[in-house]
Amino acid sequence: MSAFRVLVVIENDPDMRRLIRLELMDDPEMEVSGEAATVEAAIELMRGAETGLVILDHFLDDETRGIDAAPVLKAAAPGARILLLTSDDLAAEARRQPAIDAYLRKTDIDKLLPTARELLGLA
C-alpha cells in the first residue's frame, strides 16, 4: 500500500516542524512530503502531488492567518483534508470555517497521529 502524502504548513518554528515529523514517523501509511512557511510555498509543493492531509498552523509568515488561508488551500488541493494545528484557542473560529476539517491545539500534540489517521480514513 502506498503512503498518503502529508504536507506540513507551519509558522517559522523549526522545533514544531520537527516535532510533527517525530509524531508521525512511526506510521507506515503516512509520509511527510514537504514543509512550507507560507501558503504560496505550500501550494507550490502540492502542485501535481496527491496531498491527503494539510497540517496548517494559524500564525504563518507574511502575516497570513491559517483560518483565512484554508479555503485557498482547499481550492488548490480539493482532495486534501485540512487540520488546523495551533497554539491558540481558536475552536469557535475553526468551526465556522468549512474548509477546515479538524482542529487541534499544539499542546495536544499527543492526539496528532490519531487525528491524522481519522482524517485520512485510516482509523
Binding site: 517559522n12 518554528d13 522545533d15 514544531m16 516535532l19 517525530l22 500564525f59 499544539k106 499542546t107 500534540i109
Partner: protein
C-alpha cells in the same frame, strides 16, 4: 487635579489592554507547546531515540524554557512601567562609564567604537540607563552589522546617546511600530528576542524624563537614540 478619563478613553485603554493580553498569551503559548511536545514525545518513545537525540530534545526544552523565563521577566517589567509602579532612583551617572559597563554585558566589543566625552553626566537611574544601552547594543549586534558606533554628546540641558550600526536598516513599514510591545519585523525574529525590549527601553527612558527614537543611519544601517537630562558631576 488631573482630569478624569472619559468613557471613550477608558474603553480605548481597555481594548489596548485586551489586545496586549491576547498577544502576550500567544507569545507564551508557542514555546510552551514546544516544551510540552518534546517532553511528551520523549516520555512516550524513550527507548526509540538514541541518547544524542534525547540530549538534543532536552536542549530544545531548555532553550525554550529560558526564553519563556526572559519573556515573563520582560512582561513584569513592562507591566510595572505601564502601571507607573517602576522604582526610579535618579543620580548623576557618568555616561562613558555607563557605556563601558554596558559593553561588558555584550559580546564582541571589538566591533564597537565609543565616542563619549569623559566628563559627560546624565541624571538617570543607573540600572535603567545600563539596560537601555545594553538593549540598543544587543539589537545592533543581532540585526545590524559592524562597525557599531556609540556616541554621546551634550545637547543643551540634555545628553544624547546614539547607537548606530551599518546593517540593512529598519524596514520603513516597521519603523513606526518599533517601540510597540511584540513588534518584530518578521517572524524569524521570534528566536532572537522577546519583542518587548524596545518598548521597555521607551518606558525606562520616559520614567527618567527622557525620550527614545530611531532614525536611518547614513549611508546605511540604523541609529537608535536616547535623550536624558544632563547632570553636573
Amino acid at each position: 487635579m488631573p482630569e478624569e478619563p472619559t468613557l471613550e478613553e477608558l474603553k480605548a485603554a481597555n481594548e489596548t489592554l485586551r489586545e496586549f493580553v491576547a498577544v502576550a498569551a500567544h507569545e507564551l503559548r508557542g514555546p510552551m507547546a514546544a516544551i510540552l511536545g518534546y517532553a511528551s514525545t520523549m516520555r512516550k518513545h524513550w527507548d526509540r531515540f538514541p541518547d544524542e537525540e534525547k540530549v538534543e530534545f532536552l536542549g530544545i526544552i531548555e532553550r525554550r524554557s529560558r526564553y519563556l523565563s526572559r519573556l515573563l521577566d520582560s512582561l513584569l517589567t513592562l507591566s510595572k512601567i505601564e502601571a507607573g509602579a517602576l522604582e526610579v532612583r535618579p543620580e548623576a551617572v557618568k555616561v562613558a562609564e555607563a557605556i563601558e559597563q554596558a559593553l561588558d554585558d555584550v559580546a564582541d566589543r571589538s566591533t564597537v567604537e565609543v565616542k563619549a566625552a569623559d566628563d559627560l553626566h546624565v541624571m538617570s537611574d543607573p540600572d535603567h540607563l545600563q539596560r537601555i544601552i545594553v538593549n540598543y547594543l544587543r539589537n545592533a549586534g543581532r540585526y545590524g552589522e559592524p562597525p557599531i558606533v556609540v556616541t554621546a554628546v551634550e545637547d543643551g540641558d540634555e545628553v544624547t546617546i546614539i547607537v548606530a550600526d551599518q546593517g540593512g536598516g529598519i524596514p520603513e513599514a516597521f519603523a513606526s511600530r518599533l517601540f510597540d510591545p511584540f513588534a518584530r519585523a518578521t517572524t524569524d525574529d521570534a528566536e532572537k528576542g522577546t519583542g518587548l525590549g524596545l518598548s521597555i527601553v521607551r518606558g525606562l527612558a520616559q520614567a527618567n524624563d527622557g525620550e527614545v527614537w530611531h532614525e536611518p543611519n547614513e549611508p546605511r544601517g540604523a541609529r537608535f537614540g536616547v535623550r536624558l537630562p544632563r547632570a553636573s558631576a
